[in-house]
Amino acid sequence: MTNPNCATWAQWFVGAVMAGMLLSGSACTTSLYAGARRPFSDVGSVSASSTVELISLDRVEVQGGTFGRYELLPGPHLATFRGRRSSGFLFFEETEKSREFTSCFLVEPGHRYQLMATLESNAWETWVRDRASDQDALGCEDIASLARTNRLGSASLLDRDTSRAVLSRTPRPGNGPEFFLGYDYGGKTLVTATMAVRNGFPAGMDFSWDWEAW
């Protein structure tokens, strides 16, 4: 026999899970430029492959690990990351990390880029792949060469010095949920219990767990 309430609870549960997936999915893409979100045809995105731990973009820490995706304005950018290789499983997993690498790459509008790293013969090899063409993105030397011969095609790209590149957007707190755990003390005595030792708590004293909506 089917309880009609079960369907209702199941719907609520599925709805909550889907909402959570949508929220987590949307949180994975971060636009790293000022102003309103632009269509993807006007920007490019970069993410890390499973063997890469992203540390910073244009010298600003992002550390989305291997999960974050970041939208960037077209032009040269700097990525700092580590290569990582895991072996084993769960409690027996061992992770080997490389030193930090910094790569510059040219972002073209509408393109997705992926930071890649592989460990070959005890030496890490890193590169940035343009997923649209499945070829390497233009690197530091390519960008410098294009700039010298004025073949970048856009004056705004030439104006940007990747060695001093700074994101146009800085991280700002106070947006989104915030979770609190704390302890409050104060107030007049509300309850007194007389036992072997006298014990009690004031009216304002509590252990609190809070969730901030905005």
């Binding site: 700002r172 949920p177 219990a193 708590f201």
Partner: protein, 136 residues
């Protein structure tokens, strides 16, 4: 929500918070528990003091929802209080561990009371909280 920013150095916004507070006292054969659900809403500002550090200042109004006492063991009974609107002020610091991870420490003074049987019991308190923001 902190929509108003001045040159990435100071932001002003609004915040609402809901939570649960719990305390208990007891012995070997009985115990008394107090539970309430504090709600607060107000304004909050952030001042950037370092690329990774912000000072936070805030204040507003608060109310304890459904504050009650209950007992267990050899002690039976309970009590339900009412709590009028009060106020709070807070000061703290937040740190960007990275873009998506923000940790904070906040000291909050809350002015409030619990009413029972026509009398008010002052319950002003100071709270220290640790917070985590998954910055989007």
């Amino acid at each position: 929500m902190t929509p108003l920013w001045f040159d990435d150095t100071m932001g002003i916004g609004i915040a609402a918070r809901i939570g649960v507070k719990f305390d208990q006292v007891g012995g070997s054969n009985a115990s008394v528990q107090k539970v309430s659900f504090p709600f607060s809403a107000g304004v909050r500002s952030y001042v950037r003091v370092d690329p990774k550090w912000y000072l936070g200042l805030g204040g507003g109004t608060n109310k304890e929802l459904a504050p009650s006492l209950s007992s267990s063991g050899d002690l039976q009974g309970g009590a339900t209080f009412t709590s009028p609107w009060g106020g709070y002020g807070e000061f703290g610091v937040v740190n960007f561990s990275n873009w998506h991870t923000v940790f904070g420490i906040t000291l909050r003074y809350t002015r409030m009371s619990l009413n029972y049987g026509g009398s008010a019991i002052r319950a002003d308190n100071v709270g220290l909280t640790f917070s985590y923001q998954p910055n989007p």
